[in-house]
Each structure stands twice: as C-alpha cells, then as structure tokens.
Amino acid sequence: MKKLLVTMLLVAATAATAHAGLRVVGKGDAMRLDPSGFPPAMKANYEIMRVKCVKCHTLERTIVAIQTGVAPISGQPFDRNATKAYGIKMLRKPDSNMNKAEVKASVDLMNYLLSEAEK
C-alpha cells in the first residue's frame, strides 16, 4: 500500500513539474501564475505582464485564453498569431502605456506558456 502511495505521489509530482509553467494561483480577479518554474527570461517577462496587463483587465482573461486555446471574449483561436495580434493591439492602444520591448516580452511569454500548455 505504501509502495502504491509513493508511486502515485511520484507520478503526481512529475506531472506537476511537466506543467510547472501553467501553475495557477487564486481564482477570478485574483488569478495569477506561479512563475517559480519559469526560465529566468520568462520570469522577467512575467513581471512585466503582471504589472502592465492588469491595468486594464485581469490576468484571468489571459490565463483562460492560454489554457483553453480560445480567447474568452471573441471566441477566436488563441495561438501564436493571436498573441502577436493582441500584443500589437495593446501596443497601439493609446492608454496601454506599453512600449515595444514590453509588448515583445509579453508576446514571448504568452508563446512560451502556450507551448507549456500543449505539453
């Protein structure tokens, strides 16, 4: 019985490691990603997303799009083409206060998260 329990815990731990990039903390408006398993560059990108994107919408909207592959409002596929289009949309919004480097960092992060979600 102990052996089975240990095996199950190991499997569970392995699974958690495999989806470390999409570990979600909190619910609704407070939903966040746990970046502890991100590569260093993506951790830095996540800081930009965490601070900039929530000025206008919750992170839940972004996380749900990545998890489901569908943008929650438009219903459009949320893939690599979409991440760049949304990045450009936010860059061009008069009030986003995001420069190109920040938008590129966010797009790179979303692409990374999409790859992680596909695993």
Partner: protein, 434 residues
C-alpha cells in the same frame, strides 16, 4: 465680467443659432453590447460614447463581434449546451436593452429669460442593440423623456418635420435592421430609421455629443434638413477589401413622390483596419506607422423638401445638396478630426419666390487622451458656419472625465462670434449608461 454685454436681441439670435446644436446625442455606446459579449466598455470606446478603432469595426460589421462568426457558434455549443435554443432560434441570450441618462447645467450670463444658471435639462433614452445570430444586426434608440434645451420634440428636427407623418411620435430616433452580407454578397442592407452614412462619425461618436459638429448639423433657412439627422430609408454598404468602405442609400420623404439620395466613401491608411484586424508591426524596429492611422472620407447628399400644407403635401419645394470631406488622424494619444461641408439650397425658406442659398461649415477638433485606461480627455473644437445669414465662429475648450467607464462628466465653454455680437456659454453635463 464673464460676458460682454450685448442686446437681448443679439443673445436671442445666438441662442436660436445654438439651439439645434443642443439636441440630445443618441449613443452608440450601449451596455447591451457589453453584457452580450461580456466585455468592458473600453473594448469599443475611448471615453464613451466616442468609438475607438475596434468599436468602429464593430459598427461597420453590423453589431457582430468581428471575426467571431464561426468561433462563436462552436464555442457556444461546446461550452454552453443549455443555450442551444439561442443558436437555433437566433435570439440574443441577453435582453438587448440599455438606458442612457444625462443631466446638464448651463450658465448663460445673458440668458433671455434671466435664468442664468439652468439646471432643468435632462434626458433618458432607451436603447436596444444586438444581432440575430450573425445574419442580422439591429439598433434602436427611443427618447423616453427629455426636458429643457434637450427636448427633442420641441425642436424642428427632420424626424419631426419631414419624415414622420402627422400624429406619429417623433421620439423614435433610430430603429433599423442590418441584413449582413445579404445573400452571400459583401453588401449589407440597412432598412429603417437611421442616420444616413455620410460623415465618418455618427453624431454620437464624440467625446462631447452636445453640441454636435457644426459641419454636419447645420441647417439652412426654414429647411429642417441636416446631414446627421436620422431619416427613414434604405442603405447599402460594403467593405471593399479591408480598408475601403462605401455606402449609398435613398431616403423617403413624406408629402412628395421623390426620394433623396446619398453616397459615402472612406479609406483608412494605417492602424486597425475596418474589419478590426491589427496592422503588421515589427516589434524589433520603430516606424511612424506603428501608431499612426489616417482615415479620409467624402460624402454627397441630394434631396428635396418643402413645407407641408393642411393635407400633408409638401409645397414650395426646396432642392438641396451637401458635399463633404473629412479626415480622422490618430497618433498614440492625440486624435485630430476635421470635417467640412458645402451646400446649396434652392428655396430654404419655402417661399413662393425662390431665394437660393449657398452654405458652408467646418469643424476642427483636437483631443488628447490621458490616463490608463483613458479617463480624462481635454479637447479643443473650432467651428465655422455660414448658412446664408452671416458667419458664426465657435471656439470650445472642454474636458471630459470618466471616473467609471459608464459615467462621463464634461465641462465645456463656448465662445461664439456672430455678425450680431459675441456670446459665451458654459455647459456642464453628467451622463451615465446602464
């Protein structure tokens, strides 16, 4: 002293000249869309009711969320199986109704009745908008109540005087259906009462809907026609490619066996295209066109109206035309709008003996968006009107503040220069939608 003293007659004339500009602004901005698509007002608006680029694409797409056509059906079926009735019947899942209300305060030191501070202007408007699946879009605005300068039915508006047969209620400002991409063609067919597509912007598509732009709202003589009035008609419009929009239609005018005709063309260079798609931007290099968009528009309207006799037949007819050109320039937080219109009326006083009048009007407006999200917009508007009875110039600095996306406060000050003298009016307004 706040105002230069002039005669009562001068202020009366200025008041009369400004009164049509204070007709209530009907809004595109309706929370019904927000509820339907579960998204915030800023998806389509800067400070409501002014549309942003995506909002304009939503409007041109017949009130259907751009690019949602197939995905919406699929997602709804998969995620919400209990809503199959809506997909099969085409009925909206939410009741598509909204209310917009406003209360205004006007200060006029030379008010004719001596009531300098006027708090008695307010209005409430019922709106409906949405789509039946992706085949039809619909929109309606009904003036439930208005009081003071904004009282629509007390003004000589075209709906009241030229399109609505006697004993019909003129408070139905808009009611139309758009058959989207009719019979598989790229052509949308709009039928009902609507603002004919002439200007780049609907009259409600402003940071300050009141007053409307002189270039599209001016009237000549006794003729109630203005370019931005709602009228009963049929319009065909279509997107040619992603950046060229054309529209043309006919307007039914009561009391005569003749229809008015109009046409519009607009071209967008740079920025989000008319289908709501973002432009290609290189995230590694900078370019002026990353943030710049320029929209150019032109329109023409040819019509005929007259004074109704006791039998409701138009007589002493006035043939008129308007030609206009406009530009909309957006660069980051700076938004510039320019609008010019020229016209000719053969008999605008509906006299037995015709006295033709040439007219022209221009509006220039500069807005600057502040805040993230945008919640403060200072703007400056310059207007020039010559409708055959002398030149009137208006200079309007203003500021709008939206503490919430559905609440807008504005403060504006208008300095008018007319042949009879100068005038100054301060106008504060609070509006909210729900």
């Amino acid at each position: 002293m706040f105002l230069k003293k002039n005669t009562v007659a001068v202020m009366f004339l200025l008041g009369v000249s400004c009164a049509p500009l204070l007709a209530p602004g009907t809004a595109n901005a309706i929370p019904a869309f927000s509820r339907q698509h579960k998204t915030e007002c800023s998806t389509c608006h800067t400070v409501y009711p002014e549309l942003n680029e995506f909002g304009d694409a939503f409007l041109k797409n017949g009130y259907v969320y751009p690019h949602k056509k197939d995905a919406a059906k699929g997602a709804a079926k998969a995620a919400e199986p209990g809503n199959e009735w809506s997909i099969i019947s085409g009925l909206p899942q939410q009741i598509p109704l909204s209310l917009t209300a406003s209360a205004d305060l006007a200060y006029d030191e030379d008010a004719v009745d001596g009531n300098k501070l006027d708090l008695s202007t307010r209005s409430i408007t019922l709106q409906a908008g949405g789509s039946f699946r992706d085949l039809f879009g619909f929109f309606a605005t009904y003036n439930l109540y208005s009081q003071g300068m904004q009282r629509a039915s007390s003004l000589t508006n075209p709906a009241n005087n030229t399109n609505v047969p006697p004993s019909n209620d003129p408070d139905l400002d808009e009611l139309f259906l758009v058959w989207r991409q009719a019979l598989g063609s790229p052509v949308n067919v709009k039928v009902g009462r609507f603002e004919p597509k002439l200007s780049l912007w609907k009259k409600s598509n402003r940071i300050l809907p009141v007053p409307s732009y002189a270039s599209t709202t001016y009237r000549v003589g006794a003729s109630p026609f203005s370019s931005d009035a709602t009228e009963d008609g049929v319009e065909l419009n279509a997107l040619l490619g992603n950046r060229l929009f054309v529209a043309g239609g006919v307007v039914d005018r009561n009391g005569q066996d003749r229809e008015d005709g109009y046409g519009h063309i607009s071209l967008k260079i740079g920025g989000t295209d008319f289908k709501g798609q973002e432009p290609e931007v290189d995230l590694e290099k900078d370019s002026l066109w990353d943030y710049l968009s320029v929209t150019l528009g032109a329109f023409g309207y040819w019509g005929q109206n007259g004074e109704f006799n006791a039998n409701g037949v138009a007589q002493n007819l006035n043939s008129f035309r308007r030609i206009g050109a406009e530009a909309d320039i957006l660069y980051q937080r700076l938004h510039l709008k320019g609008s010019g219109s020229f016209g000719r009326d053969s008999n605008p006083e509906f006299g037995v003996f015709k006295a033709p009048v040439d007219s022209k009007a221009y509006t220039l407006e500069a807005e600057y968006y502040l805040g993230a999200p945008v919640n403060v917009v200072p703007l400056f508007r310059y207007e020039y009107v010559n409708a055959g009875d002398g030149t009137i110039k208006r200079l309007t600095p203003a500021i709008a503040y939206a503490p919430l996306q559905n609440v807008r406060m504005s403060l504006e000050y208008t300095h008018s220069i007319a042949p009879e003298g100068t005038g100054n009016i301060a106008f504060a307004s609070i509006a909210f939608s729900m």
